[in-house]
Amino acid sequence: MTVVYINIIILCLLVITAIAINQQDNLFATTMLTGIFSLLSASLFVCLDAVDVAFTEAAVGAGIALILFLGSLAFIKYKEKIENKVSVFGLITVILTGILLIYGIHDIPGFGVADNPVQTHLADKYIVGSSKEIGIPNLVTAVLASYRGYDTLGEVVVIFTAGIGVLMLLGRSRENYKGLIERED
């Protein structure tokens, strides 16, 4: 029961952080609050027993993403350009999506219930059949590299693309940049 209260408190803190991020107009403050948001979600993942996801979230969200945001801040201004325009279409889309997501919650099987589909037949199949089907003694490796091989390949492609994009944006040194301008002149 305590864990449920902890989850509720962390979710409330997440909501407060999200509202604060939305309200700030100083981009540096927004970056700092983003770091706090990702640390909070990492704590939430630990509470939900997804320690590996929490670890990734802390490394990527609080570590790398914060540094990348700061690197981008070095190129732009600190203050956000404020536009007091409320997009009605966007608001309706967001509210409709939210309603759809809340409606979708009813179909999800209960959290950690013993007769969920994931606990009834899938795990047993992996434990019994993986050494015969795949031939890898390590169960986790068999699941990640073979049963979910396309999923893992997709993840690797996404991360590789993101890395290339970041390198193209930030990897160019200042001297080369100046050289480019001079050549255009």
Binding site: V3, L13, L33, I36, V51, A58, L70
Partner: protein, 95 residues
């Protein structure tokens, strides 16, 4: 037994968050994020003991390392205005 410390840690998370939101200078905010990282490390360590699985302590240690790296990156950004800058003029820098 570990419930009360855990809720106290959550309370200090809230206080660090308030400090990050209403802090006037950027240094308040940097300090708030650093405190928040430390409190998260403490929370994960305590949560391991709360659920009777102290193996989470290793993860808490890794969090402490990540927290240190991001604080160094933020402070370097303020010292040189650029995280890829180097302290020695002729060098190319980190990134």
């Amino acid at each position: 037994m570990f419930e009360i410390p855990t809720f106290m840690i959550l309370l200090s998370m809230l206080l660090a968050l308030v400090s990050a939101i209403i802090g006037k200078t950027i240094y308040d905010k940097i300090l708030a994020v650093n405190i928040f990282g430390t409190v998260t490390v403490l929370f994960i360590a305590l949560f391991g003991f709360l659920t009777k699985r102290p193996e989470f302590l290793d993860i808490a240690l890794v969090y402490a390392l990540i927290n240190f790296i991001s604080t160094v990156a933020i402070l370097k950004f303020f010292e040189y205005g650029d995280i890829s800058a180097s302290s020695i003029e002729k060098e190319k820098g980190d990134i």
